[in-house]
């Protein structure tokens, strides 16, 4: 597989730490969080495999292209708008979460609008870039931030404050039945693969996707989920972990770099996760923007010769984000994320039926062409 493919999956996995995924999991820490993680990994890996296999069969084709060829207008247009809204929401959740993080921990005096504007403005013009350039940006930013994130994980695992007894205690709850909310949160980790809906445009050659590649993804996912769930428990204890609003922030704040210029790992964590959040929003909104561009033919909207079409969704994106950032609070955000994750659990496996349909139609079309 191309390395860019892994980036798409990796970012969604790593970015969940600052999204509501750990908080949702801890909510059900006594009601089957561990078992839903196991189910989540199995189901997620299967989903990744099916999705990748499907798009690998049509190199260079995006989902809108395929839908246009195989389905009628009344179906694919509303469907793509729905997808665009979903992708926009996924980016928005990351955006609002990080805005809250920044105002809580870095610049409490700054107006929240200004903070969210920092993020929105930096991302928004990236969404309008070409798909290959988005991936190059992803690679560069990952290259700069990822070593430090690995360093933080290393710090966490090697810390004396990490109490493995709590971790063992948490693991004992494996016999509980999984809960749909926690399963949804785990499942969300794997949905990075769905970015192929648009990013498949970049992979114009047929790629190898064998058991080796699937197991790489499975292993990375297991490690990420394990770290996400058990490290905060090891640091903060098991009993009232569900009371923490930002479990990972509290965890990283219990780490110290004794001999470095920056003593509190919290700030390293925040500023480098800012990079991951940036990428996550960038990818999601780019996909959303591309769906909208396809549905509404935005390239054809002109004003005095300038192509203004793509700036219409941009302004809508900015307006909605600014409005919601000011209206929402942490609890509502948590509820919304949880609901969205649950919705995704239903929608994305159902999409596989659509894939079968498309595959069938494409095959028919090819056979018709040959005859």
């Amino acid at each position: 597989m191309s390395r860019y493919y892994y980036y798409l999956i990796l970012i969604n996995m790593v970015a969940n730490i600052i999204a509501s995924v750990p908080a949702i999991l801890f909510q059900y820490h006594k009601d089957g969080a561990v078992s839903s993680m196991i189910f989540g990994i199995v189901a997620g890996t299967i989903l990744v495999t099916v999705y990748t296999r499907f798009f690998n069969a049509f190199p260079g084709m995006t989902l809108p292209d395929l839908l246009k060829k195989t389905t009628s207008k009344w179906f694919y247009k509303p469907f793509l708008v729905l997808l665009a809204v979903m992708w926009f929401l996924a980016g928005l959740i990351t955006l609002v979460t990080f805005t809250f993080l920044l105002i809580r921990y870095v610049t409490p005096e700054m107006p929240i609008t200004q903070i969210s504007l920092t993020l929105i403005l930096s991302v928004i013009f990236g969404c309008l870039m070409r798909t290959d350039r988005v991936l190059y940006t992803v690679e560069l930013v990952l290259l700069l931030t990822f070593p430090l994130i690995l360093f933080i994980f290393y710090k966490a695992y090697s810390s004396k404050s990490l109490n493995w007894d709590f971790v063992k205690e948490a693991a004992l709850y494996v016999n509980q039945m999984p809960h749909v909310n926690s399963f949804g949160a785990c499942f969300f980790l794997f949905l990075g693969v769905a970015n192929l809906f648009i990013f498949n445009r970049f992979f114009t050659q047929k790629q190898k996707f064998k058991l080796k590649h699937i197991s790489i993804i499975g292993i990375i996912a297991t490690l990420t989920l394990f770290t996400t769930y058990f490290i905060p428990i090891g640091f903060n204890g098991f009993e009232s972990i569900d009371k923490l609003v930002y479990p990972w922030i509290s965890t990283s704040d219990s780490l110290r770099m004794e001999f470095f210029m920056i003593e509190r790992v919290l700030f390293v964590f925040l500023f480098f996760y800012l990079g991951i959040a940036f990428l996550s929003i960038l990818i999601h909104w780019h996909v959303s923007m591309e769906f909208l561009r396809f549905v509404f033919n935005l390239d054809n909207i002109k004003f005095k010769g300038f192509k203004v079409g793509k700036f219409i969704p941009v302004s809508i994106f900015i307006a909605i984000s600014l409005f919601l950032v000011r209206r929402l609070n942490e609890y509502q955000l948590f509820q919304i994320s949880s609901t969205l994750y649950n919705g995704l659990v239903i929608i994305f496996p159902l999409m596989i039926i659509l894939f079968f349909f498309i595959k069938r139609r494409m095959k028919d079309a090819e056979e018709a062409k040959q005859n």
Binding site: T107, M110, S122, M129, D132, R133, T137, E139, M261, L274
Partner: protein
């Protein structure tokens, strides 16, 4: 071309110049008419190769053959060419009603310069010369490939400068070459005098912070770029060449890397990138940390910074801009000043101003250290053009940080990366990571 008309035409063309010399020679049934511009001609050569043989040869026939055999000999294709070539230093010869050009131009600028911009410790110290023919000679002596191609094009309506497009036919990307040719044809300017001017005229986006062509005076860098499939542009009378398409990493390599052992050049490369990041981020980090989030640093360091700022009446933003402004002035001044004075200027500026500013508590001690560190690390960037761009971008980052804080700095830096990635240099992405895998076939393609 009937001879009388043509001579009249020539007179018409040159009636405005008083330097055109006409020499009519007749001897022993031989007849020769010469036109040239005195100040452009190598008199010795003219005398040795034309005038002397004229009197020695036995017949006009022989003289004609002799002239044809001269290496400086050039056929005429059009009337306009005559005027142009004579103005460039060719001699027009009329013999037996036939017109020929002989290239006896005198150039005083064909000596090779010493490197002055991209200096190195090891390696060749010679740069290009001001003369185009010499420069092409230098390239050809260093790059022995029959596929090396040189094309000429005349630019500038008034000064009619010769521009050379040089490339390796086997390695160059044809679409890049075609765009460059096409764009060069479209350049409609009165005066073209430097390669960098072309850089500005043939780019898609004239307003850009980063250079899309790499300007260099070093032959070894040009050879390296030719082998990499780049197109080189030379302008006559200009010792700097530009190579395109250029990517960001081109600006971060120096030719000296080839003269060191692997470990040393790796170390130098790391040093260079550290310098790049320092000069880009340090002042902005100072603003962000002192004015927005002092708790990022460990307590002792935060206190030291705050302590050194005691008595400074400005916000950190003003302080940084104030000091950077003087640093930039100092840099500019030391370029413009005569060599004898520039040492004094740096002493006055650097030492006296630096000490006085902290004693007057207009800036903190740490600020002075930061500004000097930034100034030094800017010089580490090997290609001067990139250093200039970094100086501008640094100011932008300070501005962003003073509005949005440290988070703004981090995101601003990512936006800078995004801007660079989104930039094109003649169809090549300006910044991306290249993977050198053994199997050549890449698994993805440009969209």
């Amino acid at each position: 071309m009937s001879s009388k008309d043509s001579i009249k035409w020539i007179y018409d063309q040159f009636k405005d110049t008083n330097e055109l010399i006409e020499k009519n020679m007749e001897y022993d049934n031989k007849h020769l008419l010469l036109f040239y511009i005195k100040s452009l001609i190598d008199m010795d050569m003219l005398e040795k190769f034309v005038i002397k043989p004229f009197f020695e040869m036995s017949s006009e026939e022989q003289l004609n053959l002799y002239l044809h055999a001269l290496p400086q000999f050039q056929e005429i294709t059009s009337k306009e060419q005559v005027q142009l070539e004579v103005m460039k230093g060719n001699t027009l010869i009329v013999i037996q009603n036939e017109y020929y050009l002989l290239d006896f131009r005198l150039s005083k600028n064909d000596e090779v310069n010493q490197t002055s911009i991209e200096t190195t410790i090891h390696g060749s110290q010679l740069a290009f010369s001001d003369n185009l023919a010499t420069n092409i000679n230098i390239i050809r002596t260093n790059y022995h490939q029959p596929s090396l191609t040189v094309e000429y094009i005349v630019e500038g309506e008034v000064n009619q400068h010769k521009v050379a497009i040089i490339y390796d036919k086997d390695k160059v990307k044809t679409n890049v070459l075609d765009t460059i040719r096409e764009k060069l044809q479209k350049v409609d300017k009165q005066l073209i005098s430097s390669t960098t001017q072309l850089n500005n005229y043939i780019n898609d986006k004239p307003i850009t912070i980063f250079p899309q062509m790499i300007m260099t005076e070093r032959p070894d860098r040009i050879i390296y770029n030719l082998a990499g499939g780049k197109v080189i542009l030379f302008v006559d009378g200009n010792p700097q060449a530009v190579a395109t398409p250029a990517v960001f990493f081109d600006f971060m390599t120096t030719m000296e890397d080839n003269y060191h052992t692997f470990v040393i050049s790796l170390f130098l490369r790391i040093l260079r990138y550290a310098g790049l990041f320092l000069s880009l981020l340090l002042p902005a980090v100072y603003v962000g940390v002192t004015s927005f989030t002092p708790e990022v640093f460990r307590t002792e360091l935060a206190l030291t910074v705050a302590g050194s700022r005691v008595g400074v009446p400005f916000s950190s933003f003003i302080e940084v801009l104030f000091m950077l402004f003087f640093m930039e002035l100092l840099l500019e001044a030391s370029i413009r000043l005569p060599k004898a004075v520039s040492a004094t200027a740096t002493t006055v500026g650097g030492l006296i101003l630096g000490t006085a500013v902290t004693e007057a508590s207009l800036a903190s001690n740490i600020m002075v250290i930061i500004v000097s560190a930034v100034a030094i690390s800017t010089f580490v960037i090997p290609v001067n053009e990139m250093a200039f761009s970094i100086r501008v971008v640094r100011l932008l980052l300070i501005l962003i940080t003073s509005v949005f804080g440290l988070a703004g700095l981090v995101l601003g830096f990512f936006v800078l990366l995004m801007y660079l990635v989104n930039m094109d240099s003649f169809g090549e992405p300006y910044l991306r990571i290249y993977a050198f895998s053994k199997n050549k076939k890449s698994s993805e393609e440009k969209t």
